[in-house]
Structure formats: C-alpha cells, structure tokens
C-alpha cells in the first residue's frame, strides 16, 4: 500500500483493522448473519421439529453453548498467534472434576468452583510453558492434551460419575422464562470477552502480540504476562464449557469434551479470526458459533449422523476459508490497482 499515494480510505485502515469490536459494519459479520438467518429459514421449512414455535430454536442453543464458550476461550489464544489444542481435553477434565465433587456429596457451587479452578490451573500451566519456557504453543498443548486426557480418565475411574442433583443439571437443561441458562452463560461470557478484547489494555496487548510480536515487545508490553493471561482465561472458559457439558448430559465421561475441539477451532476460524493472530473480531466468532451450531443441530434433526456432520463442518470450514482468502487477496489488490489507474491521469495533469 505504500506504493500508492495515501488515499483517504487507506490511511486510517492500519489503526482500525488491528482492533476488533469497532463500530464499523464488518463485511464478514454480515455474511455470517445472513447465513444464520438462511439456516433458520431453511430448517424451519424443511423439518417440523426445528422451530418448535421459536422455543425449540432457543432450546437448541443448549447443545452448542459449551462449544461456544470453548471457542471464545480459544479465540483469545488464537488472537495472540498461538493455539490451544488442549482446551477440549481440559473441558473433559473439568466435567470429570465437577462430577466427582458432586458424587462425593459436594454442593453444585463447590463442584463448579473446583472444576473451573482446575481448568484455570491447566491453562496457567500451558501459559507458563509457552510464555516463560518458550516452547511453541502447538507442541505444549499437544503434549498437555495427552496428559490431561490421562488425568481425566484416571480421576473418572472405571465408572464415571453420572446422575447429578437437579440443582446442578438445571444449568444445562432448563431456562429462566424462555431463555436456556446455558445460552445466558454463553451470552454473559461473550459480552465479557468482547469487552476484554475490544476495550481493555489486556485485549489491546493480546491483539498487538498477535499482530506484530516485536512491535509489542518494543512498545513495552509485558508479553509473557499477557500471553499467560490469555492461556489462563482460555483454561477457565474450557472449565465453564466442561461444567455446561456435565450439566447438559447429566454425566461426566472422561471424553465428554473431546468432540468440541474441531467445532471450536472451526468456529473461531469461520468467525474470521486470523490463525496467525492479530486480526479478528470476537463478535463475529459468536456469530460463527451460531452458524455452525444451528447447522449441525438442524442436520441432526433431519437425521444425519454426527460424523457426516463433522464432514460437512470440515467442508464448510475449507470452503469459507477459500472464499475469504480469495476475497482478501484478489479483491484488495484489484481495488488498489483500479485506484492507481484512476489516479494516474490526474497525476499526469498535475505535473504536466
């Protein structure tokens, strides 16, 4: 862009592009919104059970709220240019911990606290290994994923806990008036994450670390501390996701969260987050969670198996990325070229 003379449209771009959550109408977000509406229409028309007078649609969110919470945590880590492969295993561990505490006669509050605390600690462990020991996050979380899985299986034992008291399962299964509690939890966390990333110093640090690590270092950002916070928050949200899972399924299998990793990452990427960090909006990730969630739930109701839905999810991810990459690469270059051609005669006139 430096080759062209600065145009009024391009000069503020670098400043606003980096930071999510500004009041610009985002093209990708609009696409996702249209996709959600189209899905809702399509499934309402094709399958009778889908809409359920509006209530059915709302209740479906219970099924993908855990994925959404997990995706929000992942989004923070991916924003810094790292990745957390262990978050799904971490959610399973949290579910198992919550189940075990309940099984031993603990109160629901104690169970939730214990689960989230353990998950947060795992996140902190990941963060310290990545930020302070300096190992690539892909490797760290690959390794911790294995370790956490073992711990979860071992804690759950031969007969994993199930059948919890209704005061715990209502988190995942019932609602206040018409709104499922799981959806409320997701909404609260989504708003909290949007505010954190878009409007606080920590959010700006995380974005800048992902956007340009050396610039972040030179501008005096505490990179290590910020990175550790991102991983810790991701761990905490994985814990919340695990609690929601345990409450929804009323059991705590040690692999209860394993299936969340793929949809979680897919939601973040589909939500326009750059896998190399530094670019993306949490709001769009939230939209992507709904796009994916309603798509898979609608297809489940239509009678597709969950594994063929995994396949469709993968195809959607690849398709969306190909479109998005082509759009970003060609469209912008073509626009710049057109601008240059338009401006060229003007320059000649001015000099001549």
């Amino acid at each position: 862009m430096t080759t062209t003379s600065p145009t009024p449209t391009s000069s503020p771009a670098p400043a606003t592009l980096a930071l999510p959550g500004r009041w610009r109408v985002p093209g990708w977000g609009t696409c996702l919104l249209v996709a959600i509406i189209a899905e809702l229409f399509y499934f309402t028309l094709t399958t009778r059970q889908f809409a359920g007078g509006g209530q059915g649609m709302l209740n479906l969110t219970e099924q993908f709220a855990p994925t959404g919470v997990l995706a929000l945590g992942l989004a923070m880590v991916i924003l810094t240019g790292n990745i957390d492969l262990s978050c799904a295993a971490n959610a399973s561990l949290a579910a198992v911990i919550a189940g075990t505490v309940l099984d031993k006669g603990g109160s629901p509050a104690a169970a939730i606290l214990a689960a989230v605390a353990v998950a947060t600690f795992v996140g902190l462990f990941n963060g310290v290994l990545v930020a302070f020991v300096g190992i690539d996050s892909l490797l760290v979380t690959l390794a911790t994923q294995f370790i956490i899985t073992s711990v979860a299986t071992s804690v759950a034992g031969a007969s994993p806990p199930f059948g919890f008291s209704s005061s715990f399962t209502l988190i995942g299964q019932s609602g206040i008036d018409y709104v499922p509690i799981a959806l409320l939890v997701f909404a609260v966390i989504a708003i909290a994450v949007i505010v954190t990333i878009g409007y606080t110093g920590l959010g700006r640090s995380l974005t800048l670390i992902g956007y340009n690590p050396s610039a972040a270092r030179y501008s005096g950002i505490a990179i290590r501390r910020s990175l550790t916070s991102a991983f810790t928050l991701c761990g905490a949200l994985s814990g919340v996701a695990g609690v929601l899972l345990a409450a929804y399924y009323n059991s705590a299998q040690p692999d209860i969260g394993a299936d969340l990793l793929l949809p979680g990452i897919t939601a973040v990427i589909l939500g326009g987050m750059d896998i190399f960090g530094g670019r993306g909006r949490i709001g769009e990730v939230v939209l992507a969670v709904f796009v994916l969630g309603y798509m898979s739930q609608g297809m489940l109701i239509e009678g597709d198996s969950s594994l063929s839905i995994t396949m469709i999810t993968g195809l959607v991810l690849i398709g969306a990325l190909v479109v998005k990459f082509a759009f970003e690469r060609n469209f912008r270059q073509r626009m710049n070229a057109r601008m240059r051609r338009l401006r060229a005669p003007l320059h000649r006139d001015a000099h001549g």
Partner: protein, 373 residues
C-alpha cells in the same frame, strides 16, 4: 524479516557452532541419542521382566511401531517443509478401510493391496496438497478441515460395517519373524525409510524441502519453486499415510470407522521425538522410524511396569515435552519470537507474494516486521 528475534537466532546458532565438535555430534544426532535411550529402556525392562526380550514381544513392538512410523515418515516431509499435516491418521484409516474391504470381499493379495493403499493415500493427500500448495491456506487449518472431512468420510464409507476377516497370509506378516524379534513387516518397511532418507538427503527435491522449511523467502529467491515443493510434501505425506493403512491392516487385522482417528498427534509426537522440528528445516527419515520405535518401546515398558493403560497418553505427552525441552535450538528459536512462531511462518508465506498490498505488511507504525519487502 530483520527483527530482533532473528538476530537473536543467528547469534544463538553461532554460539552452538563454537562448541568443539568432539563428542557433541553424538548428542546432536537425535537418531543416535534416541537409539541409545531405547537400548537403555529395553535393557532395564528386560532386567525386570525377562519376557520383554522374547521374540514375540519384540516383534509385537516393531509391528506396532511400523504403523506409526509410516505416518511419522510422511509427517516428517511436511514438517521439514515447515508445515503440519493433522489429517494423516484419517487418511490411514480411510486407506485401511478401502484396502480392507477389497481384501475381505475380493481377496486381493498383498501387492495390489499395497498399490491400492498408496493410491488412496495419494488421492487424499492431493486434497491437502491443493489446499496448501495451490490455494495457499495455512496448513494447520487446511489439514484440520480435511481431518474433519476424511474422518467423516470414514464413517460414510463404512456405513456401519467393519473389516474383520483379513486372511492369515497377510496378518502373519506382522507376527512371523525373520530373525528372532524382527517381523517381516519391519523388513518390508525399511526400504521405504531408507529411500526417504536418501531422497531427503541427496536429491534436489529433498534439499529443496529443507531450504523451504528453513527460510521460504530465501528459498524463493534462490529459485526454488516453493509452492510446488510444499505441494509435493503433502502428496508424500498422503502416500505414506496410505501405506500406513496397509500396515495397520496387517497389524490389527481389521478396520472400522474410527481407525486412526487418534493417531494424528501420535505421529507428530513420534516425528518430534525423532528430531524433526515443527519450526522446519530440521529432521530426517531415520528419526521418524527411531522416534516411533522409541514411543512404542516406552509405552510397552510402561505397561510391563504395571502402569495403567490410562497413563499411556500422558507418557506420550511427557515424552514430547522432554524432546522439545531438550532441543534447545527449537526452544531458543520460539522464545526469541515469543508466541510468534506460526505467525512468522505466515509472514514468510505472504512475503513470497509479489508486493502484497495488505494493510498488515505495510503498516508504518511498526517498522519491525513490515520489512518483508
């Protein structure tokens, strides 16, 4: 790319070179080091349980590690080129399913089975190759997508059936031994490993992979067709995963819709333990084999020591962490770009595009990494 991080790497490398090369080369050759550790583990386990040294147990270990070795071998090609392939396990599973059904229903013999497996692997690898080499998606996302697609496809193809009647003439390859403890399948695998090692070390293609993995920008300027090399690495990875599917059939004498789903990360772990770095430009084919054998030997030793099977994944995880922590080079490298490893990769990929006019590479406020052009 003249960042402070890269300067730090350069000085780190110089310091390493300053060590007099007397004994250090032994420790720096990862294959030799890991082999030594394998010998120690085997010796200790044999001392505790004499059955560990039994021919059938050793053959079992080797047959098990051959499956992972094929995956790790393909993964090495990709990882040396600074990519990652998360879909190898699914490709292996699909290949095992396709080949298994043909063996079960049509009774094809070993050679056609191997050719079919290789074909399936190449076709599936082509998907990754196009996404990464032509469309230029980031490898981690592209292969994550194909992982979902292929593992879903496994389910669709099997349609609830499974392969369970593989004739003994084929499964015996995994249990029959040529020498005590050396199963036939290991002998059949060795040529692939040796050819890979030769290709990586002595051919233009192999050297190009190292060059691309080390610094894609420099490789591009040196006239290496970067995208074509990357394209080929994913094809090779698919090919070996397809062959791994046949090995899987021989070893487990069956296949179902979930075959290989969990082997992606194990394969990456084996490659890393064998000395191939995720940061690209380092590694080799022998390392993949040695790393796989090491993983299997250690896990078997764990179960001989009455550690519950539950802790096997944790064992893999700890070994990966140890391998990475030991590899100071990859550590200092990623430390110098705190959290920017994958991002730096993306920058290089973008750097190859002629004068890319994205806002990110030309933001004037951050002179540090804007200097790709």
């Amino acid at each position: 790319m003249t960042t402070a991080g890269d300067v730090g790497t350069a000085s780190g490398a110089r310091r390493e070179l300053a060590v007099p090369p007397r004994w250090s080369w032994l420790l720096r050759r990862r294959e030799i080091l890991v082999t030594a550790v394998i010998v120690v583990v085997v010796a200790a386990s044999t001392a505790a349980h004499p059955y560990f040294w039994a021919s059938s147990n050793l053959a079992f270990i080797f047959a098990d590690s051959v499956v992972i070795a094929f995956l790790a071998l393909g993964e090495s090609f990709v990882m040396i080129g600074r990519g990652i392939d998360l879909s190898v396990g699914a490709i292996m599973g699909l290949s095992a399913i396709f080949v298994g059904f043909r063996i079960q229903n049509d009774g094809i013999s070993l050679l056609p089975a191997v050719l079919l497996g290789a074909g399936v692997g190449i076709v599936l690898g082509l998907g990754n190759a196009i996404l990464v080499g032509v469309v230029r998606l980031p490898p981690i996302i592209a292969t994550l997508g194909t992982l979902s697609v292929y593992s879903g496809l496994e389910f669709v193809v099997t349609n609830g059936n499974q392969v369970d009647t593989i004739p003994n003439s084929i499964t015996n390859l995994g249990s029959d031994t040529v020498l005590p403890g050396v199963p036939v399948i290991l002998l059949l695998t060795l040529p692939f490993v040796l050819i890979s090692a030769w290709v990586l070390r002595y051919t233009t293609f192999g050297r190009s992979i190292y060059a691309v993995g080390d610094d894609a920008e420099a490789a591009y300027r040196a006239g290496i067709p970067v995208q074509r090399v990357l394209f080929s690495t994913y094809l090779v990875s698919g090919l070996f995963a397809g062959l791994g599917g046949v090995a899987y059939l021989i070893y487990t004498s069956g296949a179902s819709s979930t075959s290989g789903i969990n082997d992606n990360l194990t394969a990456i772990a084996a490659a890393i333990i064998g000395g191939t770095a995720l940061t690209g430009g380092v590694g080799g084919a022998l390392g993949a084999l040695v790393g796989s054998v090491f993983l299997t030997v250690t896990l078997t030793a764990m179960s001989f020591a009455h550690v519950s099977d539950v802790w096997q994944p944790a064992g893999v995880g700890v070994l990966v962490l140890l391998a990475v922590v030991y590899d100071s080079r990859s550590r200092s490298r990623s430390l110098s770009r705190t959290g920017g490893g994958r991002r730096a990769r993306g920058q290089r990929r973008r750097g190859q595009q002629p004068r890319s006019a994205t806002a990110r590479s030309s933001s004037p406020a951050f002179p540090g990494e804007g200097g790709t052009r």
